[in-house]
């Protein structure tokens, strides 16, 4: 699952493999986090991958439409604005502040949109 996320971000399986290895190598340093936070291991791994991908997010000039996730059944059901916010944060590594400025919507509004995105994901099996 984590490999799928990284591939979607970097669009290169070899590079994704390297990021995946980097994440798992770092797990031993994050064992405290795993026990302390008591949250889903996958979400923690994904957060770790996200941190590793920070430089990639900053340096990548990928256009918004390049993601294949738009064909995903969950993403497809979202409105264009929801897609922009959800994909922007999850796969383009944008912050809530950046999206707020970009869309000229208050940060609370961005969070509300995110909430609606999860409602869509939950609705579809």
């Amino acid at each position: 699952m984590l490999f799928g996320y990284i591939v979607e971000v970097v669009k290169n399986e070899t590079l994704a493999g390297q990021y995946l290895a980097a994440v798992f190598k770092d797990v031993s340093n994050q064992l405290d986090e795993f026990s302390k936070l008591n949250t889903s291991e996958f979400c923690l791994l994904q957060a770790m991958a996200r941190k590793k991908l920070e430089d990639f997010f900053k340096n990548s000039n990928r256009p918004e439409g390049v993601l294949t996730v738009y064909e995903n059944k969950h993403i497809r059901q979202m409105t264009p604005q929801q897609q922009f916010v959800f994909c922007g944060i999850h796969w383009h590594g944008k912050s809530v502040q950046a999206l707020s400025a970009e869309l000229d919507i208050p940060e609370d509004g961005i969070r509300k949109i995110l909430k609606d995105c999860f409602i869509v994901i939950r609705r579809i099996d």
Partner: protein, 164 residues
């Protein structure tokens, strides 16, 4: 702030996506431990994320896990960490195969035994009772010896009286 308002604010979603600020994370961890509703909502969101990820999962190319394993092994100093017991292989067979089932054979090396602390009172009581019984045994032994001596003396006296 009311709990439902907090849950509806979207902060949980930003946390799950890894974009919550440090302050938000701190607050969320506090709320999560204090209010089960927050914890429940968070778990639901994590499940949603896993559902989405599972839907888009890609199998890594063959050899990826081997490479990761090798990389991890390279950063673990095995020689120092491997217990002596397993390094030598000595009398222990760590793995045994019987039929199709592989299982790990466990054999205790230590000659020590672990007991519950409550047993120390039992041992103390047994020790004290032992001492008491020993004291009684010595006392009755000496008492018996003394009585026997007295009987012997009385017998001698009776014999002397009969002879007179």
């Amino acid at each position: 702030m009311k709990i439902q308002e907090y849950i509806d604010s979207g902060i949980l979603e930003t946390f799950v996506l890894g974009v919550a600020s440090e302050e938000e994370v701190k607050q969320l961890l506090y709320m999560k431990t204090k209010y089960p509703e927050v914890n429940e909502a968070l778990q639901q969101l994590e499940q949603d994320m896993e559902k989405l990820a599972a839907d888009m999962a890609i199998t890594p190319p063959p050899g990826t896990w081997y490479k990761i394993e090798k990389d991890i092994e390279a950063i673990i100093p095995h020689q120092e960490n491997t217990p002596q017991l397993f390094k030598n292989g000595s009398s222990h067979k760590s793995r045994t195969r019987k039929g199709n089932d592989e299982y790990i054979e466990v054999e205790g090396e230590s000659s020590h035994m672990r007991l519950h602390k409550a047993w120390r009172w039992v041992f103390a009581a047994v020790f004290i009772l032992g001492k008491i019984f020993l004291g009684f045994a010595i006392y009755f032994y000496l008492e018996n010896k003394h009585t026997q001596e007295q009987i012997q003396e009385l017998k001698t006296e009776i014999r002397q009286l009969k002879n007179k």
